[in-house]
Symmetry: D2
Subunit: 137 residues, 4 copies
């Protein structure tokens, strides 16, 4: 079980006409968990770094196992799987109790705000993530 | 200040290219608050009543005063303004600290699931809301 | 029947677990129609005006009559109901064939991008809307 | 260039405070293209098959290369990469002119509506997809 998680309640806005959570919305839940993980490391407004950098999702690989329904109370986890100079890979799970609903690897990269080209993560973000990552090991 | 409220954190999913919360999303925040208010009265899955009834929004009148931005922690209130046999009007506010960002009257009606025609609220829902409404006065 | 409309197909993303279009999403459909109406007057990127102005929704009053379902092909109209120095009121309908599903009055105001305070509409926008409004009469 | 595509205009609802399209929303654009591809094969309401079957996304692997911004007119493609008895893998691209913005492999599976367990695709859907797939080769 990963060290960091947030609870997410399923509201009608999250569901679709299949009677289940619209699969796209799990990615929103995961973004909330990443945001709160970064906040727990001291970084507010984590999606928009200060200065010229912008944190953007560069890739996501997600597998769906079971569906959540209206009113479910979910647990959404986030941990750092890999840390590099210009990007971070998060490993994330969505659980209902012990049941795994979906899992994903999400690659978040730092880019230049105007050109949207890769650039190094802000050093204080990089250091904090590395510290978290190494302590966990 | 109304009796019932929930906290809502603004995530990147809620914002738009204007750098503010996309105005449509305040209606989602308000729906969450109505759901939790009904839950506090004992009704789970409040958006979908048991049996043939379906609770649907029949009208909304919303005024925007100020904008929320990424990472804001908002307070979203919900109270019953009017209770009738087949519908309820909620009065709702979105606040950031003491500042009023937007307010709305939202009319929620009970309809038949197949025909989508008006029908009476489930009696236990109607009674619970009336009790809440009268106690508050 | 208003002069300007766009077709909108209902996709699974627009629906909810009630099996109908999530009521909040009609406001997105209406925004698309307003955007295309302004585009037809020659204004690209209409939601974000050039310079310091930002067009924001200041209020919306919407009534829901019938529900759309998955795969419906809707007609969404937009016309100017009122034009003032710092805001415009749009009258909008969502139709499925001849059936009216919902209608709204949406007030769009021009605000300062940094302070979010009211300011005059860009003069070329104001003039174009007035021309449209008067021709229609 | 794949055989099937739809145009998608970027509206304010699709953007986020980074000034770009919220990455999650490309998955909505791709769903629209899959829906229209299936419609072109004769299947209405494609996300909800008749009878007990439900088409659900079982996995998605998406890479983001460049960002779209407000008002962009995008081309979203869909083609069948693999067809099996109980699932289909779509290959999809989002382009702005010649520029590739993102690409994805999306696995769509057929499940039982009540139990959400894998089941065979409706035979007429399976046959139509196989025909398309083989003709393309």
């Amino acid at each position: 079980m990963p060290q960091f998680s947030i609870p997410v309640r399923v509201y009608i806005e999250d569901t679709d006409a299949g009677g289940i959570v619209f699969y796209v919305n799990y990615l929103k839940f995961m973004e909330r968990a990443r945001t709160e993980l970064l906040r727990s490391l001291g970084f507010d407004k984590p999606a928009l770094t200060n200065g010229n950098g912008l944190l953007v999702v560069a890739g996501a690989d997600i597998q769906y196992k079971k569906s959540a329904i209206l009113d479910d109370l979910l647990t959404v986890t986030a941990e750092f799987e890999k840390v590099a100079r210009s990007h971070v890979v998060f490993r994330q799970l969505v659980l209902r109790g012990e049941a795994l609903l979906c899992s994903a690897a999400v690659k978040v990269a730092c880019v230049d705000r105007t050109e949207l080209r890769p650039r190094a993560l802000p050093v204080e973000v990089y250091d904090a993530i590395n510290l978290w990552h190494n302590q966990k090991r």
